[in-house]
């Protein structure tokens, strides 16, 4: 709960001078930004959201974690790095797994949600929580040499469940550990995700409600895909929703939010 403010400090004016001069943002947009809170849901390759430690194999793409952070909880490492960049922002690291029992209360405390997770149950959980809490969701993903970005549940647009009423068969789901990912591709998608969060938070608005950005890094090509509108028969955001609370997402998806491969090895 950040307070609305009437003016920027001198330090803020110095720091943000290059974007304060933009008529699209201006002091007004920057003030909106300054009182906006964003929940970033991250998911390591193997373990549910926000519960993952920094691993060597993360470093080629996750530039918030320096080498010295190996073994630290990711949320703490990220907050420490961000604090070095900008100490005026408040960072709250949650070193915990997002679950149906905690997600809604957490999402309610924030203005915008960014989903950077890596598994299907978490994607549904975050989207459903955003619908129930009435928060816009900027969702980005990357695999191999491709990336996708959509803004859900924003200005009357569709939610994740409108697009994907049924989860994919578990055997068709590939994660970064199995499928691989070129280090800089999540970096590109993450920066564009940050842009859309910033545009929504500052009042500029996003062009990716009911649009998907598709990126092919091999070709160097981005495409904007027009998506279906919000579905009147969507189970959670439709006219007569059948879901009014969060459910068991691992059962729904037939897969766990932890790494499929690792589970197989354990069996």
């Amino acid at each position: 709960t950040l307070q609305a403010r009437a003016s920027l400090s001198l330090a803020e004016i110095l720091r943000y001078s290059r974007q304060l001069v933009l008529p699209e943002l201006g002091v007004r947009g920057q003030l909106r930004l300054s009182r906006c809170s964003v929940l970033v849901v991250e998911g390591g390759t193997a373990v549910p959201v926000m519960e993952k430690d920094v691993e060597m194999s993360n470093l080629h793409r996750q530039v918030l974690h320096g080498e010295a952070r190996e073994g630290l909880p990711k949320a703490l490492s990220a907050a420490a790095s961000l604090r070095q960049l900008n100490s005026a922002v408040q960072y709250v690291p949650y070193h915990l797994a997002l679950s149906p029992s905690t997600a809604l209360e957490l999402v309610r405390q924030y203005d915008v949600v960014a989903d950077c997770s890596d598994n299907v149950p978490t994607r549904y959980l975050v989207s459903d929580a955003c619908v129930l809490a009435g928060k816009p969701l900027v969702s980005a993903s990357a695999l191999r040499l491709e990336g996708q970005l959509v803004v859900y549940n924003y200005q009357g647009g569709p939610c994740y469940r409108c697009l994907f009423p049924k989860p994919p068969p578990p055997e068709t789901v590939t994660n970064c550990a199995d499928g691989g990912v070129l280090g800089v591709v999540p970096g590109i998608m993450g920066c564009i995700q940050a842009l859309e969060v910033l545009k929504i938070a500052s009042g500029i608005g996003s062009g990716f409600s009911q649009f998907m950005l598709m990126f092919d890094a091999l070709e160097g090509r981005f495409r904007n895909i027009k998506l279906r509108p919000k579905k009147s028969d969507c189970a959670i955001c439709g006219d007569s929703p059948t879901m009014t609370s969060l459910q068991d997402y691992e059962a729904f998806c037939g897969s766990s939010a932890t790494d499929k491969c690792r589970s197989l090895h354990l069996l």
């Binding site: 950077c116 990357a142 695999l143 491709e146 990336g147 009423p165 994660n175 895909i225």
Partner: protein, 101 residues
């Protein structure tokens, strides 16, 4: 009698791995009595392009959950889904949604 039709059919997001890893296919559909729609195209793809494990691409008479179908850069839901009547030079994309991060 529908004339032969040229399409660009693309696979992405990993769906191309069921098609020898080839993302972009220049396709010519043969003449047939009824017009070509997506329903027929799916059958044709299954018989002519799909290399392995068809159940990871098609379930029943439609694509499996988690694959988005795009017709000329628009979600097929906006275009009539299986019933969309293909036009010459259409671009049809089958894209598996990504979850990695």
């Amino acid at each position: 009698m529908a004339a032969p039709m040229s399409l660009v059919v693309e696979f992405g997001g990993g769906a191309e791995l069921l098609f020898d890893g080839i993302k972009k296919h220049q396709v010519t559909l043969p003449c047939q009595p009824e017009p070509w729609d997506i329903r027929n195209l799916l059958k044709w793809i299954k018989q002519n392009l799909l290399k392995e494990r068809p159940e990871l691409f098609i379930q029943g008479d439609t694509v499996r959950p988690g694959i988005l179908v795009l017709i000329n850069d628009a979600d097929w839901e906006l275009m009539g889904e299986l019933d969309y009547k293909l036009q010459n030079q259409d671009n049809v994309v089958f894209i598996s949604t990504l979850h990695g991060g």
